[in-house]
Amino acid sequence: MNTAKRDWKALLTRHEMLLLYVLIAEWLFFYFAGTTTNRRGVVVGFGTMDRQFDILRHSCEIGLLALALTPVIITAGIDLSVGSLLGLCAILFGQLWHDGGLPIPVAAGLTLALGALAGGLNATLITALRLPPLIVTLGTYSLFRGLAEAITRGSITYTGFPETFLFVGQERWLGLPTQAWIFFVVALAVWLLVHRTTFGRTFRTIGLAPEGARYAGLPVERRLALVYVLAGLIAAIAAIIYTARLGQAKADAGTGYELFAITAVVLGGTSIFGGTGSVHGTLLGVAAIAVLKNGLACLPVVMGMNAAEEMSGLLTGALLLLALTASVLPKILANFRSRPHAPAP
């Protein structure tokens, strides 16, 4: 019984451990290959504390979206609209503050409510009308971005936010970038929700067998709704952080972020068919991608390479394949070994 328990644990942690090794390897590689001393004798590149904090700051929004998507994907759903919703929320936030003349905290509070409301639209269509999440959020992906563009006619940009607000996105608090604290709090909350409460248990069950969950008397519709509303709420948080980091709100905020977030989630070992996955896996996935991207950007100093953008895309793809292959390799090898020698005619 004890060995069985260990087996199960090993299975659960295998993917995450692997990702952790990859992350450490990446980090060490860039630490040694991406750090130099420049002409002025200052240590620059990947190995500096500043760089580490920048990585953290740049990962917050996508990280938040990935956190939002983890429970969604665990229920075998998907939310393609989070990136667009980030854009819409950023606009609404800017508008509430700038045109509506509301103080920042009130505007932020209202934006969070609107984000949750937009998530509620997804939730209603998915649970009340039983429409497939992919189609619904494909629709709202267009809809939210379209509304953002329509409201601003594409060009209005809200700027001139007060210093106190920009502090959230650009300065440090207690030694860490301010938004990182928000990110950690959200991450912890989502982790507890998914791994330590009956909610997370229910998400998993719904992902594996929605009918089975219904027969067990689990509130399938309400939990699904929760997951999408939560995604909307977190997207709104990400929108505010994004605005604070760039100091501007514009309709194109967060374009394409959903894809990065999904990549991070699946890299973190969450199955797109639902049922399995972990929040720490997602965090590792986000970190692995962020370190890769930023680390490559540091290499040119050392190697005179000038295509960081393309290379990082290329390597993210390769990393994804590698992590996947590695996670199924033991199974495949075992399969081969147990195969009988000669197949019959």
Partner: protein
């Protein structure tokens, strides 16, 4: 009627858009621009045929856009080297089939989830192409455009070829044993294995087929203008998947057909020109497109809510 409700509700939405155009912007119905519109959508339709197959078999391929770009550039470069068109065409399809086989091998051979595999190949192919081409256009020699046939003949050829693929695959899916295998594998791969079918092989072949169709489609697109832009396929995957799922192909496999996918494609393809014809400002385009997608499926949702699904 009951089984084709989704297809019909999408078709109904299409009819509404077309009627609105007939009333408010009859200029939409001029033969030449309409033929042009269809020609522009023909490659997408060909890719959609393959994509429907992949989705019915409970897989997905989001790398088609990148495959399309790669095939376009390959075809363009070969044509620019002076290869005759009857060699470029199969080369493009072969290039697509090769990329599809790559995806297929990873998905079927190693049993990796297709969305992740194709996400990875998408990023890799796209960034690889950027790295190599840096966005530079490929200029084609004369005689490649319209396959040397002249514009009207070329346009008809492309449109009819695409429709031919639609009909062939639509009927094949329904009436050929191979088509039914695709449904069986998508409905329950384990049951398919126990029934003596070979789900892994089927999955592999479906990816290869999609790749080959993408290669062909790329060629059909290359043949429409005298230059190739390396970005040409970007966003194609979303367009195609949207059309297919809006048209009633279930993302969970085993359900749906090509006629629905066709209706979905036409619906989405009509939105942009319709807005231009109705003189709606472009800022609204995405919002309206999203609303149309949602409205087209809401009817279906309302129905399944009423008629107690088990």
């Amino acid at each position: 009627m009951k089984t084709y409700f989704r297809e019909l509700s999408v078709a109904a939405a299409l009819v509404v858009v077309l009627l609105a155009l007939a009333v408010f912007a009859p200029a939409f119905y001029q033969p030449q621009p309409l033929l042009s519109l269809l020609t522009r959508e023909a490659p997408t339709l060909v890719v959609a045929c393959g994509m429907a197959l992949v989705i019915i078999s409970r897989q997905i391929d989001i790398s088609v856009g990148a495959q399309f770009s790669v095939c376009s550039v390959c075809a363009g470069l070969l044509a620019a080297r002076g290869w005759p068109i009857y060699l470029v065409l199969p080369a493009s399809a072969a290039c697509g089939a090769f990329l599809g086989a790559l995806n297929g091998a990873l998905v079927a051979g190693l049993r990796l989830p297709s969305i992740v595999v194709t996400l990875a190949t998408m990023v890799t192919l796209r960034q690889g192409l950027n790295l190599v081409r840096q966005g530079e256009f490929v200029n084609l020699p004369d005689g490649v455009q319209w396959l040397g046939l002249g514009q009207t003949a070329g346009q008809w050829l492309i449109v009819l070829t695409a429709l031919g693929f639609l009909v062939a695959f639509g009927l094949g899916l329904r009436h050929l044993a191979a088509g039914r295998f695709v449904y069986a594998v998508g409905s329950d791969a384990e049951a398919a294995r126990l029934a003596g079918l070979r789900p892994q092989l089927a999955t592999f072949l479906v990816f290869v087929l999609l790749g080959a169709l993408t290669g062909l489609a790329a060629m059909m697109n290359v043949a429409q203008s005298p230059q190739v832009q390396p970005l040409s396929g970007s966003g194609l995957e979303l367009k195609v998947i949207a059309a297919v799922v809006v048209g009633g192909v279930a993302i969970s496999g085993g359900r749906g057909n090509l006629w629905g996918a066709f209706a979905g494609l036409l619906l989405l393809a009509c939105v942009a020109p319709a807005l231009t014809h109705l003189h709606v400002e472009a800022y609204w385009e995405k919002a309206i497109q999203g609303a149309i997608i949602l409205l087209a499926v809401v009817a279906d949702g309302l129905r399944s809510r009423k008629g107690g699904h088990r």
